[in-house]
Symmetry: C2
Subunit: 512 residues, 2 copies
């Protein structure tokens, strides 16, 4: 949380510049949405091509194809596009419209990489975008030429459909409208597209530091994340941080017959279960000593918009009878620090199950951090916890291979460094200005959420660039299956995003 205080804004010459004439945000929104309806074929054809490109950050060839497509898309809208590089990093892409003195600078952020597709669960191929027209699924590319009257409830299925290529296509459409209608932008726009968000933004800090001058701005807008579970538009003033880890425990060096050796040889699957149960209570409470030390409980749940009806509907939809912790609403729950188990693997199950003691057991954990809780703190706490259970921490397979007491070894793979959470002060003028504009668009429908359950690398920007403020403005439907099989986005989300982004670009007030 190293946001520039409002006073420091004076350092940025643009802050106090004179504003130019600005269009009425509500009119711009309506115009942009209408423009989308009239040009849906071209836009969805472009979206389809973009979604057909696999985009896992570990695959450089895939990412290169995405970069080339996005550079072309930005240049088509008149933006100068250049790659921001760092050693070993998938490049970020920076697009800039020619600046006009006196306008505030807005950096608009999205990421172009996607989550792994996983091993199963997809109903259609993740990189063959499908259009679901109320139950009838057709290839998006084949549907486009004859597409008419796009319905808000239709959905496009593909990896990254919502997370995070939908905001990118919506921004491009907003720019198309502003250009076509001759509506001037109220801001100097820079578009920042990251290529490693879904693997934890391991090189974002290096990239931001290396290009800090180009990334100085009055406001950085994160277009990632979903709208509120009620379907209402939301603006978000903070995020939880994140740190992933893969924990592996070990049994015998070779799998052993579970009858002859089963309750003699230490069982890594059983030990992993014990360790996980020691880390996390049934209600989700983290049992690692000290985990809540950096947490200001007074802030837990403060300012959140909990909607029991929406939550009940969501539970019904998800077929859940109960919350994990009955005393906390969804909105309140995600303001707490947490640990999730996102994967377990040991031996085999189902038709492949064998009566054998496995050689190892793996859990993929996902820590969610509140503001002021850093990845380093969490790493230290988990290691201390495991040591208190009698484990010796190692970080390489080689160390395990050398061990003569494999049952005492805990292999921790922290993967890429995580990042801290951020809470944005809502008394900053840039933040107030944006909220005011969104209220003009959405009235009381707008949900102002103090902290998002999901993680976005806001802290990397606040710690490494000179920013007036940073805010999250998500546009996609909440039920988008992001990070899961069958990721999707509704056409209504696209329309919403196009209207919202056009209104912000044309209507944002400069800081007085």
């Amino acid at each position: 949380m190293k946001l520039l205080p409002a006073a420091a804004c004076a350092l940025l010459s643009i802050c106090s510049a004179v504003s130019s004439a600005r269009a009425d945000p509500a009119s711009v929104r309506l115009g942009a949405e209408k423009h989308y309806e009239q040009h849906a074929r071209e836009l969805l054809a472009e979206f389809s091509s973009l979604l057909a490109l696999p985009n896992h950050a570990d695959n450089r060839a895939e990412m290169e194809r995405n970069l080339v497509a996005l550079e072309a898309a930005l240049r088509k809208r008149g933006l100068a596009a250049r790659r921001l590089e760092a050693p070993g990093a998938v490049p970020s892409l920076l697009g800039e419209l020619p600046g006009t003195p006196g306008r505030p600078t807005l950096i608009w952020y999205a990421h172009y990489d996607g989550q792994p597709v996983g091993s199963s669960g997809w109903n259609t191929s993740p990189f063959e975008p499908m259009l679901d027209r109320g139950g009838e699924k057709v290839r998006l590319a084949e549907a486009v030429p004859t597409l008419a009257n796009p319905d808000d409830d239709w959905r496009i299925y593909a990896r990254s459909a919502s997370d995070d290529k939908a905001p990118i296509i919506a921004l491009l459409a907003a720019l198309d409208y502003l250009k076509a209608s001759g509506t001037p932008l109220a801001v100097n726009l820079k578009v920042f597209l990251e290529g490693e968000e879904e693997i934890g933004s391991p090189n974002l800090a290096a990239i931001v530091r290396a290009h800090a001058d180009a990334l100085t701005a009055d406001l950085l807008l994160f277009a990632d994340g979903p709208r509120h579970q009620s379907g209402r538009p939301q603006v978000v003033l903070g995020v939880r941080g994140t740190q992933g880890v893969e924990l592996t425990l070990f049994g015998p060096v070779r799998a052993l017959h579970s009858g002859h050796y089963g309750n003699w040889a230490p069982n890594p699957a059983a030990r992993l279960s014990e360790v996980l149960a020691s880390i996390r209570a049934p209600d989700g409470t983290v049992k690692i000593a000290g985990y809540y030390d950096a947490f200001d409980r007074d802030l837990a749940g403060r300012g959140v918009v909990a909607d029991e009806k929406v939550e009940a509907k969501l539970r019904q939809e998800l077929r859940l009878g109960a919350r994990e912790n009955e005393s906390r609403s969804l909105a309140a729950a995600v303001t707490w620090p947490a640990v999730n188990i996102v994967g377990l693997k040991s031996g085999d199950t189902g038709a492949n199950a064998r009566n054998a003691i496995p050689v190892e057991a793996v859990a993929s954990l996902d820590f969610r951090l509140v503001p002021d809780q850093t990845p380093a703190i969490v790493r230290g706490l988990l290691e201390r916890h495991l040591r208190s259970l009698g484990y010796r921490i190692v970080s390489t397979r080689a160390e395990t291979d050398a061990a003569t007491d494999r049952e005492r070894v805990a292999l921790l793979d922290w993967g890429d460094a995580g990042y801290a959470g951020v809470r944005v002060r809502d008394d900053q003028p840039q933040v107030r200005g944006l909220i005011d504009l969104l209220r003009q668009l959405h009235g009381e429908q707008l949900v102002v959420t103090p902290i998002l359950g999901g993680s976005l690398p806001l802290s990397i920007f606040t710690e490494n660039a000179r920013l007036g403020a940073i805010v999250v403005l998500p546009i996609v439907n909440y039920d988008n299956n992001q990070h899961a099989p069958n990721e999707n986005v509704t056409l209504g989300s696209l329309r919403h995003g196009i209207g919202t982004f056009a209104a912000v670009l044309a209507g944002l007030q400069p800081v007085k």
Copy 2:
């Protein structure tokens, strides 16, 4: 434990019959082993062909190919071979040599199905048998034509190499020697080959009941299982029973972003960890209420041969610093009832891990039962335990799909029925006779083990056929990776089995 008392043996006319002249067991053993050395090429060629046949009991086409090969192998040795069938069952195979009045009847049991090969971990293809000649691995089929001086330490790698095709090939070789040398059998031999042992012998009871007359015998010899961990020959007077189960717990109906919903939606991987930790203590103690009620603790560890040196060597080899329960030797540990976790699966791990709450979590459990503890008792206890934790037991996916509170549902798939454990009284004359014969072969090296950690369907025979006694006589190396990747058998085990089986067939004393 429904063994016929020794008195009931009078019912079996053969019991009291006059014996014929019998060869000296030690001489027969030496002769048979020498015959093996001279004919190793033919024998290993036959073994190689048999091992090349995949043999998972769920695959009828695979099992048919094994049946055809085994029928031919038995007939080649002069045995009448017929299939013993039951509705829905993979047939068992019964081979009979022409009987001679006055000789005791011996049923020799092995199984011809194998464990699933699992999803990973094999260094070579499970059904392309490989010969490891002290580090140099060659295809067995290619090595056979020029094979000379087979070394006892060489190993054959393939699924079922040890479990349980090695005993079958050893018996065939023993019969070859007896025929070639003109040594008369001291028993009327019936060979029983089961095709569903590794899936829990679901139809064995039906088969045995349907053919109870043909399965009446003075002694049933199970040739399954490994020799003692010290490498010493062993005879085993009991087995633990078995019952497998697959337990699935559920989360939301679709995978959810772990940031936005992670500590709100119940996490099935976390719940499974909690449940497993509630079932099993870190020292392997089963925490399910009532689990030890049917267990006679006075019998735990009684009569076992514990060898600290052998165990220390084994731990070193397996790279384990400690036992699961430090107070119990390996030999003692497996006389206790137990539960093993043999598989875990939820979400994805490693490169496929996604930051998502999984929709379900699965554990494969393997209960090991002591004598008098039945599968029905264990099933009831686990269900009661899960109910006490607040779960509703269902047995089909359809019931889960209908649930509006998936987080409270526990899906139990008991698979095929398990079977009870057996403890054989060592004061029975048939048992004493066999042990005396083995002592002539092995002297003080022979380990008489009261109960085997592994499970064999002895109880199915004792409950459904008229048997004088039942004993386990294993021949394969203990470090055979049975039920695991890289299953193997040493050539020394084959030699040992051939000599032992020949000596038993030619030298077993009739019951006086």
